[in-house]
Assembly symmetry: C2
């Protein structure tokens, strides 16, 4: 992902200038987080797509593919592809549930479990670097605001 060249704010309110739009600011921040995360987990042979699933499975192992899709926020076909790559990399095993043979449960391998502490450390470090120079109070306002924005948008149907 390339770093972005920032446009100067034109100050023309009628134009709805990007640099003051929340959505725009969120996109930029998101890209910055992704870029760094991607670069730092790559040495472990883990991609960003895999990261999201690991993150959930480290907390709750043995979920079905459908449950995983919902928690990670990806469509099921995407999950199939991601899990396939994780199986190839030896990060997960897929086990057909005995009580309901439609379900496939996903379990972390020992390898994936060993990566946990280190990779969560990577994420924690990125967060610290992002928050550097910001006061606790500011961060708490930030969290409240962005959570509310997400909730506001999520509740809109169309």
């Amino acid at each position: 992902m390339p770093r972005k060249i920032r446009q100067r704010n034109t100050g023309d309110a009628a134009d709805f200038p990007p640099p003051t739009s929340s959505g725009y600011l969120v996109r930029d921040a998101h890209r910055a987080f992704q870029r760094l995360l991607e670069r730092r987990i790559a040495p472990y042979g883990v991609t960003r797509g895999q990261w999201y699933f690991l993150r959930v499975l480290w907390t709750t192992d043995g979920l079905s593919q459908r449950e995983l899709s919902a928690r990670v926020g990806m469509m099921e076909p995407t999950t199939v592809i991601a899990l396939r790559s994780m199986e190839r990399s030896g990060l997960i095993r897929r086990v057909r549930a005995r009580d309901d043979r439609r379900r496939v449960q996903v379990f972390l391998t020992a390898k994936a479990k060993r990566l946990r502490a280190e990779l969560l450390g990577v994420a924690r470090r990125i967060t610290e670097e992002a928050e550097h120079g910001l006061a606790i109070g500011e961060l708490s306002v930030f969290r409240r605001v962005i959570t509310r924005m997400t909730a506001n948008l999520d509740q809109i149907e169309k």
Copy 2:
């Protein structure tokens, strides 16, 4: 893009629980913004990829592909593909610069210019909906914090 099922915060600090991590919150918000934007510009036949380029060109028409790539924050091959689709949709013309025949300048068509006011309105409305119920002071802290986070991360090389 599917809506995400949220995990409850386990409260286990050692686990670095997602719901309190800035990066996590930013990702969720980003997805919410994208989902809505995508849905609302689709009726105009504009995709999210095209949107970013329109946004820049509405401000500064006639940029080269390289300049556009930098401002939008995409790699040049991605720009080639996006611009090709925009040309097919009649949103832009590509004109080889006379003084330097390597450069291709990108100009908006009348159609794209006509879409400007309406589509910027769509973006503005999404912002308003996202910010609903939040105080000016909170929003201003939010903007300062997220801008600083992006700057913090962008300045890290590795």
